[in-house]
């Protein structure tokens, strides 16, 4: 308040190097109005959208604001791609998931870090008849679904040789063919 007539009327802005500030009418709260590039918040303590860090070191060592690190699995046209403080990725695409969009999401398998989106994460597509509990998820890496007894293939879609009746939903049964009348 510059109208009081004392030397303490005007105080320096509580903002980083050179940022201007303003007093919010009514609440008398001081907010920085021109935070350094990439930062924002009342005291320039936050990173802009699309960046993460802790520019004032409020919860640990100072971490300058950096662009979201999401393994190239976010869309630059999206907003809110990562948590502004922790950097946790919030909008993974190409069927990826995880803190850094670095693994396949439930129900998908493959290499989330592959260069070509088509090579990243493919659907498990587990056969509902051959998979334990009709699960839809599979091994993140190999894509192997969890098969019922005597069921084979990555997606549990076939009976092992010598077995039949995948449709039962309880695994495959032995064929019980008479060895004398069978060809193999």
């Amino acid at each position: 308040d510059a109208t009081q007539g004392t030397s303490g009327d005007c105080k320096p802005c509580p903002c980083p190097a050179g940022a201007t500030c303003a007093v919010v009418p009514k609440t008398r709260e001081v907010v920085c109005t021109n935070c350094p590039t990439g930062t924002t918040g009342k005291r320039c303590e936050l990173c802009d959208d699309g960046f993460f860090g802790d520019p004032l070191g409020q919860s640990g060592p100072v971490r300058a604001c950096r662009a979201c690190k999401c393994s190239d699995n976010i869309d630059p046209n999206a907003v809110g791609n990562c948590n502004r403080e922790t950097g946790e990725c919030l909008k993974c695409i190409y069927n990826t998931a995880g803190f850094f969009c670095d693994r396949c999401k439930e129900g998908f398998y493959g290499n989330a870090l592959a260069a070509n989106p088509a090579d990243k994460c493919k659907p498990c597509s587990c056969s509902p008849f051959g998979t334990v509990g009709r699960q839809t998820s599979c091994s993140q890496v190999t894509g192997q679904c969890q098969c019922l007894p005597n069921v084979s293939e990555r997606d549990c879609s076939a009976c092992q040789p010598g077995f039949f009746n995948l449709q039962s939903g309880d695994g495959c049964e032995r064929c019980n063919c008479n060895p004398i009348g069978s060809t193999n």
Binding site: V24, C32, T40, D49, D75
Partner: protein
């Protein structure tokens, strides 16, 4: 203690969101009075995306994505009031006016990356854009969600920005992928390019002969003369960071009865 609105002086203004605040640029005629641009509302902890203005109630509405919510405040100096706080993930586009108690789902399928949404209340129409990279589109329906149709799907990439001008009945959009600004009368389908080679549009609004859009590459509000089809002015705030939504705060409300007023 909550921040409040710095009351807007009389006249028509542009409102736009940039990181933790909503700013205004007064308009004199159709020109931006850039020296008088100022923050209307400081929301330092928030990331404000969409901005809309309700002319009748003189309310500014906005969407915010850090704790996803929709809020409003009176432009003549009010405190922010949350309208919707639950069941939102990434609210982006917004159109006034809303009442949280009247929330209902209008469209819940066939949306991938919906962004801009605008209304034509006199005719009861709703328009929205979806920047789904596999199948970007601009759609329309009645304001209750019925009679849904795809209006535009060819030669679109990232239709981020969409606006409807009730005076001229023109639907205009700007695309960050094709780098074009285009308009059409939704009923006639007479699509026409206003400008090419624009950089990275995010928000758009119209006022009279001008179209104003926000640009992520230029961190600026750009004024385009829609008849001349060229840029006529630019406002770049001191703070260099992305500018998101933009809306026109009319001094005089556009005429036309609100279709929703009768039911």
């Amino acid at each position: 203690t909550r921040p409040g609105v710095h009351p807007l002086p009389p006249g028509t203004h542009l409102l736009f969101s940039q990181s933790g605040r909503i700013e205004h640029i007064p308009l004199e005629g159709y020109d931006m009075i850039k020296d008088s641009a100022k923050a209307v509302l400081h929301l330092p902890e928030k990331v404000v995306i969409g901005v809309a203005y309700d002319c009748l109630e003189k309310m500014v509405y906005w969407t915010e994505i850090t704790s996803p919510s929709i809020s409003k405040a009176n432009i003549q100096g009010g405190a922010p009031v949350a309208v919707i706080r639950s069941d939102l993930e990434s609210p982006e586009g917004i159109v006034a006016s809303l009442d949280g108690s009247h929330r209902r789902v209008i469209i819940d399928s066939g949306l991938v990356n919906p962004r801009a949404i605008v209304t034509d209340p006199p005719n009861g129409n709703l328009y929205w854009s979806d920047w789904n990279r596999e199948a970007p589109k601009i759609e329309t329906s009645y304001m209750d969600g019925s009679n849904r149709r795809v209006l535009v799907k060819d030669d679109l990439t990232l239709p981020n920005a969409l606006t409807y001008d009730s005076q001229s009945s023109l639907l205009c959009w700007a695309d960050a992928g094709t780098h074009k600004m285009e308009c059409m009368h939704p009923g006639r389908g007479d699509r026409r390019v206003i400008m090419e080679g624009i950089q990275y549009p995010f928000g758009i609004t119209t006022y009279g002969k001008n179209i104003y859009y926000t640009d992520w590459r230029r961190d600026a509000v750009i004024e385009v003369d829609r008849y001349a089809g060229r840029e006529s002015d630019e406002f770049q705030p001191q703070k260099r960071t992305k500018i998101y939504g933009i809306a026109t705060a009319y001094a005089q409300c556009p005429s036309g009865q609100n279709y929703c007023a009768v039911n």
